[in-house]
């Protein structure tokens, strides 16, 4: 997670819904259900549009009043879990 490039969720690989303050998603490749908590919902919404690691961490810091290092760790863990499932793609420059 060194390069701070903008990434987004792959719409062709996922279907998701918000339920109360959580996200429930299906990884279409494996028919596996994924879910997030409330902070995951914040990150998920931003990633649906496309966001950088720095933007995501700043969002967490602002919403949940946590320090920068904690926010970065949480974002890295979240992005890693999605990347391991091949659910992220780089946002093209023109978009």
């Amino acid at each position: 997670m060194t390069a701070d490039r903008a990434q987004r969720l792959r719409p062709d690989a996922l279907r998701w819904r918000e339920v109360d303050r959580e996200v429930i998603a299906v990884d279409l490749g494996s028919s596996t259900y994924l879910s997030t908590n409330e902070s995951g919902l914040v990150l998920w919404r931003r990633l649906a549009e496309g966001a950088t690691r720095r933007e995501l961490a700043a969002e967490l810091q602002e919403r949940f009043a946590i320090d920068a290092s904690r926010a970065e760790i949480d974002v890295d863990n979240f992005l890693r879990a999605l990347a391991e499932r091949d659910l992220l793609e780089d946002v093209d420059d023109e978009t």
Binding site: R15, W16, R17, V19, D20, E22, I24, A25, V26, L28, S30, S31, T32, Y33, S35
Partner: protein, 354 residues
């Protein structure tokens, strides 16, 4: 056309009145179990959150489950549509749920698809990875739908229908007749159709009646929503008479008006055998039997209702093929002991959320 359907139902004044009426029923219910018996438990979560009342964790879990099922239904519908090149019409729960304030509020158990060539469609879906469930194919040979299918890992069943489920005294409308008047589905899945609003309202009313007359409030909500569309009522009544469900429609509409909108007085059939709707409670073993025997008089002329009621009474006392007289009598005695108990406690089976 899809947009038209949505606007004519969900955004009409009648729809706003309907959701307010459902909130009032939620407020009036004495327990979550009673709301669940009528398919309204997910509305309770929505309502309670809106008024600042705590939502029990078990109900939050139900919401998560509903969200997972709805996602699965969308995926199954998309993949079914991609697998089959014929005409495909989505009926009932999933289609109607799209007109709810949030589709997750409407419990869903399966995806009901009426298709032009059912056997061919079934083969196409199986070739695309859907797996058959339930009993063997022979069991479904004379039923209204083929053997249920599911995609591995997804908690939803797809049923390909030959014809709609219908009341016992009349033949169902044919698939070509329904397909000829179909409109684009509001799910937004390309190439999926839905029944015309008038047809759909009758299909939902007849399906509900076939399961158990005036079986739950959720069905009244579906019917009210569909009937609120801006279409010619004469078209609906004409189809109802032709398909011999005009009595069912009249009774269902009257019950919906009374239960949801508090008409001047409860219709006699609601007072006599569907009081559980007005009281927002689960029906008892006793009223369940009364309902089966008395309901034909609310849907048919007396000369046709009498034999239908007789058949219902006969069914209640007749021994099933796989049954022995000993087990039949044991069950009858148990039913008598449990006469005043809710049906779910008597049968101890899973709750129907179709």
């Amino acid at each position: 056309m899809a947009t038209r359907h949505r606007q004519l139902t969900a955004s009409s004044d009648r729809a706003a009145e309907l959701w307010a009426a459902v909130d009032r029923l939620v407020d009036r219910a004495t327990s979550l179990d009673n709301l669940a018996a009528h398919g309204l438990h997910l509305f309770a979560a929505h309502r309670w959150r809106a008024v600042g009342r705590e939502v029990p964790e078990a109900l939050v879990d139900e919401e998560r489950r509903a969200g997972a099922v709805l996602l699965a239904a969308t995926i199954a519908l998309e993949q079914a549509r991609a697998a089959y090149d014929g005409t495909m019409l989505l009926m009932k729960g999933m289609e109607v749920g799209e007109c709810y304030p949030d589709p997750i509020l409407r419990p869903l158990r399966d995806v009901d698809l009426l298709v032009d060539r059912p056997d061919r469609a079934q083969r196409a879906l199986v070739a695309a990875g859907f797996e058959p469930l339930g009993r063997d194919d022979a069991y479904y040979a004379r039923r209204h739908h083929l053997r249920p299918l599911a995609l591995p890992g997804l908690p939803i069943v797809v049923e390909l229908h030959r014809r709609p489920e219908w009341v016992g005294w009349a033949p169902p409308p044919s698939a070509p007749e329904l397909l000829s008047e179909a409109v684009p589905s509001v799910t937004g899945v390309d190439g999926v159709l839905a029944p015309s609003p008038a047809h759909h309202a009758l299909l939902v009313a007849a399906h509900s009646w076939a399961g158990a007359p005036l079986r739950r409030i959720l069905d009244l909500v579906d019917v009210t929503l569909l009937a609120g569309g801006d279409f010619d009522r004469a078209e609906l009544w004409e189809a109802a008479r032709k398909w011999e469900v005009d009595g069912v429609w009249k009774t269902t509409s009257a019950a919906a008006d009374a239960v949801l909108f508090g008409g001047p007085s409860l219709p006699w059939h609601v007072r006599l055998w569907a009081r559980d709707l007005a009281d927002v409670r689960e029906r008892t073993v006793f009223t369940n039997h009364v309902r089966r025997i008395a309901s034909p008089f609310s849907a048919l002329p007396v000369r046709r209702a009498l034999p239908a009621a007789g058949r219902a009474a006969g069914h209640a006392v007749r021994r099933a093929e796989e049954d022995t007289w000993r087990s039949k009598l044991r069950r009858a005695a148990r039913a008598l002991r449990h006469a005043s108990q809710p049906v779910s406690r008597h049968v101890q089976g899973p709750r129907d959320s179709r």
